[in-house]
């Protein structure tokens, strides 16, 4: 059994998580490799089948090298040290995933929607800062405007999250 401690960060949060993972030597390095011949019917449909992550084969981040499909790589790209160096660089510049940009919508459309807006306020009803929401500057401003508008009309509570907000189980 081989154990390794890794100092990783969750995206958009500056919390430190000490992750202790053990893997067995006889498990394959890359799971889910497609074994179909290249000229079969389904070979072109699921092009990334070999790199799709499934729920039962979780690959910890310190084992995932920065190599995309079709890219030429060298043996040093697969070392633990290169992967760890890249992950530690991400700690200082985390990738911002703006959910409104991904959906291609403006936050102001959701000012009547307490379910969506409750994701951007804390348990006490205060607007979350940009470090917690991970939005771009413009979208953060629009979200704040939507929250203030909703509070004024009585759609969103001031001191707590909406009754209709999504709850964590």
């Amino acid at each position: 059994m081989f154990t390794r401690k890794f100092f990783s960060s969750i995206e958009n949060n500056s919390r430190h998580v000490l992750q202790t993972v053990s893997f067995q030597r006889n498990r394959p390095f890359c799971t889910g490799i497609s074994l179909q011949a290249p000229n079969t019917q389904n070979s072109s449909v699921r092009k990334n089948a070999g790199f799709q992550r499934r729920s039962d084969s979780f690959i910890p981040p310190f084992l995932v090298p920065n190599v995309t499909e079709g890219q030429v790589y060298s043996p040093s790209d697969l070392k633990f040290e290169t992967v760890e160096a890249r992950n530690q660089g991400n700690f200082f510049n985390p990738k911002r995933h703006d959910c409104f940009k991904a959906a291609n919508r403006s936050p102001l459309e959701f000012w009547k929607n307490p379910v969506v807006l409750s994701n951007f306020i804390t348990e006490l009803g205060r607007i979350k800062p940009r470090a917690d929401t991970g939005l771009s500057a413009k979208n953060q401003r629009l979200v704040s405007r939507a929250i203030r508008r909703a509070r004024a009309v009585g759609v969103l509570p001031t001191k707590h999250k909406s009754v209709y907000a999504e709850r964590e189980k």
């Binding site: 009547k112 508008r149 009309v153 009585g154 001031t158 909406s162």
Partner: protein, 111 residues
Amino acid sequence: MVLYELFCITRPAVNATRTSAPVSAISVARNCGKTILDSKGVVVDIESMGLKELAKPIKKLNSKHNFGYWWTMSFYSSPTVQQELQRILRLEPTVLRYSLLKKSDKLNHLG
């Protein structure tokens, strides 16, 4: 002509359920719509969001409400109608909260 959006929360009837017809909301919407149409406006869309629990108990005219009927109305009209609309909404006893928004000028809409 400017595109406006009216969002209104009206008080429900005493025995109202989630599926019962909102009598007071219908009358308020009819009044507002009549005002808009009389001044040569166009009502685009009336959408009802149903009976919902309010963010906090709202007190109006010595009565407290925990539930309200949410509905929206989008319409094209001239800016002079807004005064009339606001007067109606303020005088109605069944309207708990309202908000008039300008969605776009005609030029933005076309572009």
